[in-house]
Protein backbone atom coordinates (compact mmCIF):
# COMPACT_ATOMS: atom_id res chain seq x y z
CA UNK A 1 0.00 0.00 0.00
CA UNK A 2 2.78 2.29 0.98
CA UNK A 3 4.48 1.46 -2.30
CA UNK A 4 1.37 2.39 -4.32
CA UNK A 5 0.93 5.67 -2.38
CA UNK A 6 4.56 6.59 -3.13
CA UNK A 7 4.10 5.72 -6.80
CA UNK A 8 0.89 7.80 -7.04
CA UNK A 9 2.70 10.73 -5.39
CA UNK A 10 5.65 10.38 -7.82
CA UNK A 11 3.33 10.25 -10.87
CA UNK A 12 1.40 13.29 -9.60
CA UNK A 13 4.54 15.35 -9.16
CA UNK A 14 5.82 14.13 -12.58
CA UNK A 15 2.53 15.26 -14.18
CA UNK A 16 2.66 18.58 -12.32
CA UNK A 17 6.18 19.31 -13.53
CA UNK A 18 5.12 18.20 -17.05
CA UNK A 19 2.19 20.68 -16.97
CA UNK A 20 4.52 23.38 -15.63
CA UNK A 21 6.99 22.69 -18.44
CA UNK A 22 4.16 22.68 -21.05
CA UNK A 23 3.04 26.10 -19.73
CA UNK A 24 6.52 27.48 -20.31
CA UNK A 25 6.73 26.40 -23.96
CA UNK A 26 4.32 26.92 -26.83
CA UNK A 27 2.46 24.85 -29.46
CA UNK A 28 4.31 21.93 -31.05
CA UNK A 29 7.02 21.94 -28.38
CA UNK A 30 4.40 21.37 -25.64
CA UNK A 31 3.00 18.41 -27.63
CA UNK A 32 6.51 16.96 -28.02
CA UNK A 33 7.00 17.10 -24.25
CA UNK A 34 3.73 15.20 -23.77
CA UNK A 35 4.79 12.55 -26.37
CA UNK A 36 8.10 11.92 -24.59
CA UNK A 37 6.34 11.58 -21.25
CA UNK A 38 3.91 8.97 -22.63
CA UNK A 39 6.69 7.05 -24.42
CA UNK A 40 8.54 6.57 -21.13
CA UNK A 41 5.44 5.05 -19.60
CA UNK A 42 4.75 2.83 -22.59
CA UNK A 43 8.27 1.39 -22.30
CA UNK A 44 7.71 0.24 -18.73
CA UNK A 45 4.32 -1.22 -19.72
CA UNK A 46 5.96 -3.16 -22.54
CA UNK A 47 8.57 -4.39 -20.09
CA UNK A 48 5.86 -5.76 -17.80
CA UNK A 49 4.05 -7.47 -20.67
CA UNK A 50 7.39 -8.90 -21.81
CA UNK A 51 8.01 -10.36 -18.36
CA UNK A 52 4.55 -11.91 -18.24
CA UNK A 53 4.99 -13.36 -21.73
CA UNK A 54 8.30 -14.93 -20.76
CA UNK A 55 6.76 -16.50 -17.65
CA UNK A 56 3.90 -17.89 -19.70
CA UNK A 57 6.33 -19.26 -22.26
CA UNK A 58 8.44 -20.90 -19.54
CA UNK A 59 5.39 -22.51 -17.99
CA UNK A 60 4.19 -23.75 -21.35
CA UNK A 61 7.55 -25.18 -22.30
CA UNK A 62 7.88 -27.02 -18.99
CA UNK A 63 4.55 -28.58 -19.85
CA UNK A 64 5.90 -29.41 -23.27
CA UNK A 65 8.84 -31.27 -21.68
CA UNK A 66 6.14 -33.55 -20.38
CA UNK A 67 4.57 -33.91 -23.80
CA UNK A 68 6.03 -37.36 -23.13
CA UNK A 69 2.98 -37.81 -20.90
CA UNK A 70 0.72 -37.32 -23.90
CA UNK A 71 2.67 -39.95 -25.78
CA UNK A 72 2.46 -42.29 -22.81
CA UNK A 73 -1.28 -41.83 -22.50
CA UNK A 74 -2.07 -42.01 -26.21
CA UNK A 75 0.29 -44.72 -27.37
CA UNK A 76 2.33 -46.55 -24.84
CA UNK A 77 -0.32 -47.40 -22.26
CA UNK A 78 -2.79 -48.84 -24.80
CA UNK A 79 0.21 -50.65 -26.24
CA UNK A 80 1.11 -51.99 -22.80
CA UNK A 81 -2.46 -53.24 -22.37
CA UNK A 82 -2.09 -55.23 -25.59
CA UNK A 83 1.23 -56.58 -24.35
CA UNK A 84 -0.28 -57.72 -21.08
CA UNK A 85 -3.14 -59.38 -22.98
CA UNK A 86 -0.45 -61.18 -24.96
CA UNK A 87 1.05 -62.41 -21.68
CA UNK A 88 -2.34 -63.77 -20.57
CA UNK A 89 -2.92 -65.46 -23.93
CA UNK A 90 0.59 -66.93 -24.09
CA UNK A 91 0.61 -68.31 -20.55
CA UNK A 92 -2.86 -69.77 -21.07
CA UNK A 93 -1.75 -71.38 -24.33
CA UNK A 94 1.30 -72.88 -22.62
CA UNK A 95 -0.80 -74.23 -19.76
CA UNK A 96 -3.26 -75.81 -22.20
CA UNK A 97 -0.42 -77.35 -24.23
CA UNK A 98 1.09 -78.92 -21.11
CA UNK A 99 -2.27 -80.22 -19.86
CA UNK A 100 -2.99 -81.67 -23.33
CA UNK A 101 0.35 -83.48 -23.25
CA UNK A 102 -0.31 -84.75 -19.72
CA UNK A 103 -3.76 -85.99 -20.66
CA UNK A 104 -2.10 -87.80 -23.55
CA UNK A 105 0.52 -89.37 -21.24
CA UNK A 106 -1.65 -90.47 -18.33
CA UNK A 107 -3.57 -93.24 -20.18
CA UNK A 108 -0.26 -94.50 -21.68
CA UNK A 109 1.36 -94.79 -18.25
CA UNK A 110 -1.80 -96.37 -16.80
CA UNK A 111 -1.81 -98.89 -19.69
CA UNK A 112 1.88 -99.75 -19.21
CA UNK A 113 1.35 -100.13 -15.48
CA UNK A 114 -1.64 -102.45 -15.83
CA UNK A 115 -0.06 -104.59 -18.54
CA UNK A 116 3.13 -104.90 -16.44
CA UNK A 117 1.18 -106.09 -13.40
CA UNK A 118 -0.57 -108.81 -15.42
CA UNK A 119 2.68 -109.98 -17.04
CA UNK A 120 4.57 -109.88 -13.74
CA UNK A 121 1.98 -112.21 -12.19
CA UNK A 122 2.36 -114.65 -15.08
CA UNK A 123 6.14 -114.36 -15.02
CA UNK A 124 6.20 -115.13 -11.28
CA UNK A 125 4.03 -118.19 -11.95
CA UNK A 126 6.54 -119.26 -14.61
CA UNK A 127 9.62 -118.80 -12.37
CA UNK A 128 7.88 -120.90 -9.72
CA UNK A 129 7.51 -123.61 -12.37
CA UNK A 130 3.74 -123.51 -12.02
CA UNK A 131 3.11 -122.88 -15.71
CA UNK A 132 2.34 -125.47 -18.37
CA UNK A 133 3.62 -125.30 -21.95
CA UNK A 134 0.39 -123.96 -23.46
CA UNK A 135 0.28 -121.15 -20.90
CA UNK A 136 3.96 -120.43 -21.49
CA UNK A 137 3.39 -120.09 -25.24
CA UNK A 138 0.53 -117.69 -24.60
CA UNK A 139 2.70 -115.68 -22.21
CA UNK A 140 5.54 -115.51 -24.75
CA UNK A 141 3.15 -114.02 -27.29
CA UNK A 142 1.86 -111.55 -24.70
CA UNK A 143 5.41 -110.52 -23.80
CA UNK A 144 6.18 -109.94 -27.48
CA UNK A 145 3.07 -107.78 -27.89
CA UNK A 146 3.88 -105.95 -24.66
CA UNK A 147 7.46 -105.19 -25.67
CA UNK A 148 6.32 -103.88 -29.04
CA UNK A 149 3.69 -101.68 -27.38
CA UNK A 150 6.18 -100.53 -24.72
CA UNK A 151 8.60 -99.43 -27.45
CA UNK A 152 5.86 -97.36 -29.12
CA UNK A 153 4.46 -96.06 -25.83
CA UNK A 154 7.82 -94.94 -24.46
CA UNK A 155 8.39 -93.12 -27.73
CA UNK A 156 4.98 -91.38 -27.39
CA UNK A 157 5.78 -90.49 -23.78
CA UNK A 158 9.10 -89.04 -24.85
CA UNK A 159 7.45 -86.92 -27.51
CA UNK A 160 4.86 -85.60 -25.04
CA UNK A 161 7.60 -84.78 -22.54
CA UNK A 162 9.36 -82.80 -25.27
CA UNK A 163 6.13 -80.92 -25.98
CA UNK A 164 5.91 -80.04 -22.28
CA UNK A 165 9.51 -78.87 -22.36
CA UNK A 166 8.95 -76.71 -25.43
CA UNK A 167 5.79 -75.20 -23.95
CA UNK A 168 8.00 -73.59 -21.29
CA UNK A 169 9.28 -71.07 -23.85
CA UNK A 170 6.44 -68.82 -22.70
CA UNK A 171 8.62 -67.86 -19.73
CA UNK A 172 11.19 -66.22 -21.98
CA UNK A 173 8.62 -64.53 -24.23
CA UNK A 174 6.35 -63.19 -21.51
CA UNK A 175 9.36 -62.26 -19.33
CA UNK A 176 10.60 -59.88 -22.03
CA UNK A 177 7.18 -58.31 -22.49
CA UNK A 178 6.68 -57.91 -18.75
CA UNK A 179 10.08 -56.24 -18.40
CA UNK A 180 9.06 -53.70 -21.08
CA UNK A 181 5.83 -52.99 -19.25
CA UNK A 182 7.70 -52.56 -15.95
CA UNK A 183 9.98 -50.00 -17.65
CA UNK A 184 6.93 -48.19 -18.98
CA UNK A 185 5.35 -48.08 -15.52
CA UNK A 186 8.59 -46.58 -14.13
CA UNK A 187 8.55 -43.99 -16.95
CA UNK A 188 4.92 -43.07 -16.23
CA UNK A 189 5.74 -42.79 -12.54
CA UNK A 190 8.68 -40.41 -13.19
CA UNK A 191 6.55 -38.25 -15.49
CA UNK A 192 3.70 -38.08 -13.03
CA UNK A 193 6.10 -36.98 -10.30
CA UNK A 194 7.39 -34.23 -12.67
CA UNK A 195 3.89 -33.11 -13.49
CA UNK A 196 3.01 -32.84 -9.82
CA UNK A 197 6.21 -30.82 -9.22
CA UNK A 198 5.34 -28.41 -12.06
CA UNK A 199 1.75 -27.84 -11.04
CA UNK A 200 3.14 -27.39 -7.53
CA UNK A 201 -0.06 -28.63 -5.98
CA UNK A 202 0.41 -30.29 -2.67
CA UNK A 203 -2.12 -33.02 -3.11
CA UNK A 204 -2.82 -34.65 0.20
CA UNK A 205 -4.26 -38.03 -0.63
CA UNK A 206 -5.38 -40.67 1.75
CA UNK A 207 -3.54 -43.60 0.24
CA UNK A 208 -5.87 -46.11 1.82
CA UNK A 209 -8.82 -44.42 0.12
CA UNK A 210 -6.98 -44.34 -3.18
CA UNK A 211 -6.47 -48.09 -3.10
CA UNK A 212 -10.17 -48.80 -3.04
CA UNK A 213 -11.47 -51.43 -0.70
CA UNK A 214 -11.25 -54.32 -3.07
CA UNK A 215 -13.09 -57.50 -2.33
CA UNK A 216 -11.14 -59.70 -4.67
CA UNK A 217 -7.44 -59.14 -4.87
CA UNK A 218 -6.12 -62.29 -6.53
CA UNK A 219 -3.09 -64.22 -5.37
CA UNK A 220 -1.00 -62.99 -2.46
CA UNK A 221 2.04 -61.02 -3.63
CA UNK A 222 4.54 -60.26 -0.87
CA UNK A 223 4.83 -56.54 -0.16
CA UNK A 224 2.03 -55.65 -2.57
CA UNK A 225 -1.25 -56.96 -1.22
CA UNK A 226 -0.35 -59.07 1.79
CA UNK A 227 -2.16 -56.89 4.35
CA UNK A 228 -4.50 -59.06 6.38
CA UNK A 229 -3.76 -62.05 4.22
CA UNK A 230 -3.07 -65.58 5.30
CA UNK A 231 0.43 -66.78 4.67
CA UNK A 232 -0.44 -70.01 2.88
CA UNK A 233 -2.60 -73.07 3.52
CA UNK A 234 -1.28 -73.71 7.06
CA UNK A 235 -2.47 -70.27 8.26
CA UNK A 236 -5.83 -70.84 6.60
CA UNK A 237 -6.14 -74.22 8.33
CA UNK A 238 -5.26 -72.63 11.70
CA UNK A 239 -7.87 -69.91 11.20
CA UNK A 240 -10.52 -72.44 10.17
CA UNK A 241 -9.79 -74.72 13.12
CA UNK A 242 -10.06 -71.69 15.43
CA UNK A 243 -13.53 -71.23 13.89
CA UNK A 244 -14.42 -74.82 14.76
CA UNK A 245 -13.51 -76.55 11.50
Amino acid sequence: MHDIATRVATKKSELKSLLAMMDEVEGVEALNLLDEFVKGHEASLFQEIGKLTRQLHDSLSSFRVDGRIVDLAENEIPNAKERLKYVIATTEQAAQKVINAIEHCVPISVGLHEASIILLEKWTKFTRREMDVAEFRLMSQEIEVFLGAATDDSDRLHRSLNEMLMAQDYQDLTGQVLKQVIELVADVEANLVNLIKITGEKVAVDRKRLIKEQQNTGPRIAGVNDDGRMNGQDDVDDLLSSLGF
Binding site: I99, I102, E103, G228, M230, Q233, V236, L243
Partner: protein, 130 residues
Amino acid sequence: MDKNIKILVVDDFSTMRRIIKNLLRDLGFNNTAEADDGTTALPMLQNGNYDFLITDWNMPGMQGIDLLKAVRADPKLATLPVLMVTAESKRDQIVEAAQSGVNGYIVKPFTAVTLKEKIEKIFERINASA
Protein backbone atom coordinates in the same frame (compact mmCIF):
# COMPACT_ATOMS: atom_id res chain seq x y z
CA MET B 1 -15.31 -93.39 0.33
CA ASP B 2 -17.48 -93.60 -2.79
CA LYS B 3 -15.40 -92.67 -5.82
CA ASN B 4 -18.43 -92.52 -8.10
CA ILE B 5 -19.78 -89.33 -6.53
CA LYS B 6 -20.74 -86.64 -9.03
CA ILE B 7 -18.53 -83.56 -8.69
CA LEU B 8 -18.99 -80.08 -10.20
CA VAL B 9 -15.82 -78.02 -10.68
CA VAL B 10 -16.42 -74.26 -11.03
CA ASP B 11 -13.62 -71.90 -12.11
CA ASP B 12 -13.48 -69.18 -14.76
CA PHE B 13 -10.08 -70.39 -16.01
CA SER B 14 -10.29 -73.55 -18.05
CA THR B 15 -6.68 -74.43 -17.17
CA MET B 16 -7.56 -74.52 -13.47
CA ARG B 17 -10.68 -76.63 -14.17
CA ARG B 18 -8.55 -79.06 -16.14
CA ILE B 19 -5.91 -79.22 -13.39
CA ILE B 20 -8.54 -79.97 -10.75
CA LYS B 21 -10.29 -82.53 -12.97
CA ASN B 22 -6.99 -84.30 -13.63
CA LEU B 23 -6.11 -84.33 -9.93
CA LEU B 24 -9.59 -85.68 -9.13
CA ARG B 25 -9.15 -88.41 -11.74
CA ASP B 26 -5.82 -89.36 -10.15
CA LEU B 27 -7.68 -89.66 -6.84
CA GLY B 28 -10.17 -91.99 -8.56
CA PHE B 29 -13.03 -89.51 -9.09
CA ASN B 30 -14.05 -89.78 -12.74
CA ASN B 31 -17.60 -88.44 -12.55
CA THR B 32 -16.90 -84.72 -12.93
CA ALA B 33 -18.46 -81.79 -14.77
CA GLU B 34 -17.34 -78.16 -15.26
CA ALA B 35 -18.87 -74.70 -15.10
CA ASP B 36 -17.17 -71.34 -15.58
CA ASP B 37 -19.04 -69.28 -12.98
CA GLY B 38 -21.85 -69.35 -10.43
CA THR B 39 -24.54 -68.36 -12.92
CA THR B 40 -23.82 -71.44 -15.02
CA ALA B 41 -23.16 -73.68 -12.02
CA LEU B 42 -26.33 -73.03 -10.02
CA PRO B 43 -28.87 -74.43 -12.55
CA MET B 44 -26.53 -77.39 -13.13
CA LEU B 45 -26.54 -78.10 -9.40
CA GLN B 46 -30.31 -77.67 -9.15
CA ASN B 47 -30.99 -80.15 -11.95
CA GLY B 48 -28.04 -82.49 -11.81
CA ASN B 49 -27.88 -84.56 -8.58
CA TYR B 50 -24.37 -83.49 -7.71
CA ASP B 51 -22.71 -84.86 -4.57
CA PHE B 52 -19.87 -82.38 -4.24
CA LEU B 53 -19.05 -78.84 -5.35
CA ILE B 54 -15.55 -77.43 -5.82
CA THR B 55 -15.59 -73.70 -6.59
CA ASP B 56 -13.28 -70.74 -7.11
CA TRP B 57 -14.19 -67.41 -5.43
CA ASN B 58 -13.29 -64.68 -7.89
CA MET B 59 -15.26 -65.18 -11.12
CA PRO B 60 -17.16 -62.90 -13.50
CA GLY B 61 -20.93 -63.20 -13.27
CA MET B 62 -21.77 -64.94 -10.04
CA GLN B 63 -18.87 -65.21 -7.59
CA GLY B 64 -18.06 -68.37 -5.68
CA ILE B 65 -19.12 -66.92 -2.33
CA ASP B 66 -22.55 -66.00 -3.79
CA LEU B 67 -22.83 -69.46 -5.29
CA LEU B 68 -22.10 -70.93 -1.85
CA LYS B 69 -24.79 -68.72 -0.26
CA ALA B 70 -27.29 -69.63 -3.01
CA VAL B 71 -26.56 -73.32 -2.47
CA ARG B 72 -27.11 -73.01 1.30
CA ALA B 73 -30.33 -71.05 0.71
CA ASP B 74 -31.77 -73.71 -1.61
CA PRO B 75 -33.52 -76.42 0.45
CA LYS B 76 -32.63 -79.07 -2.14
CA LEU B 77 -28.94 -78.18 -2.13
CA ALA B 78 -28.47 -76.92 1.44
CA THR B 79 -26.46 -79.95 2.59
CA LEU B 80 -24.24 -80.23 -0.52
CA PRO B 81 -20.59 -80.29 0.59
CA VAL B 82 -18.67 -77.32 -0.83
CA LEU B 83 -14.90 -76.96 -1.13
CA MET B 84 -13.53 -73.55 -2.03
CA VAL B 85 -10.29 -73.44 -4.04
CA THR B 86 -9.23 -69.83 -4.48
CA ALA B 87 -6.41 -67.29 -4.49
CA GLU B 88 -8.42 -65.13 -2.07
CA SER B 89 -6.66 -65.45 1.26
CA LYS B 90 -7.82 -62.47 3.32
CA ARG B 91 -8.80 -63.35 6.87
CA ASP B 92 -12.19 -61.66 6.45
CA GLN B 93 -12.94 -63.64 3.33
CA ILE B 94 -12.12 -66.96 4.95
CA VAL B 95 -14.30 -66.06 7.92
CA GLU B 96 -17.12 -65.04 5.55
CA ALA B 97 -16.84 -68.35 3.68
CA ALA B 98 -16.85 -70.27 6.96
CA GLN B 99 -19.90 -68.37 8.19
CA SER B 100 -21.64 -68.99 4.86
CA GLY B 101 -21.22 -72.72 5.41
CA VAL B 102 -18.20 -73.76 3.37
CA ASN B 103 -16.91 -77.28 4.16
CA GLY B 104 -13.27 -76.69 3.21
CA TYR B 105 -11.03 -73.87 2.01
CA ILE B 106 -7.90 -74.28 -0.11
CA VAL B 107 -5.73 -71.33 -1.13
CA LYS B 108 -4.04 -71.28 -4.54
CA PRO B 109 -1.36 -72.21 -5.32
CA PHE B 110 -2.11 -75.62 -3.86
CA THR B 111 -0.76 -79.15 -4.13
CA ALA B 112 -2.36 -82.47 -5.09
CA VAL B 113 -1.79 -83.67 -1.50
CA THR B 114 -3.72 -80.70 -0.05
CA LEU B 115 -6.66 -81.36 -2.37
CA LYS B 116 -6.70 -85.04 -1.40
CA GLU B 117 -6.50 -84.26 2.35
CA LYS B 118 -9.27 -81.67 2.29
CA ILE B 119 -11.64 -83.87 0.28
CA GLU B 120 -11.01 -86.81 2.61
CA LYS B 121 -11.51 -84.62 5.66
CA ILE B 122 -14.81 -83.24 4.34
CA PHE B 123 -16.23 -86.72 3.72
CA GLU B 124 -14.89 -88.08 7.02
CA ARG B 125 -16.81 -85.34 8.84
CA ILE B 126 -19.97 -85.92 6.79
CA ASN B 127 -19.82 -89.68 7.41
CA ALA B 128 -19.13 -89.14 11.13
CA SER B 129 -22.13 -86.84 11.56
CA ALA B 130 -24.43 -88.99 9.39
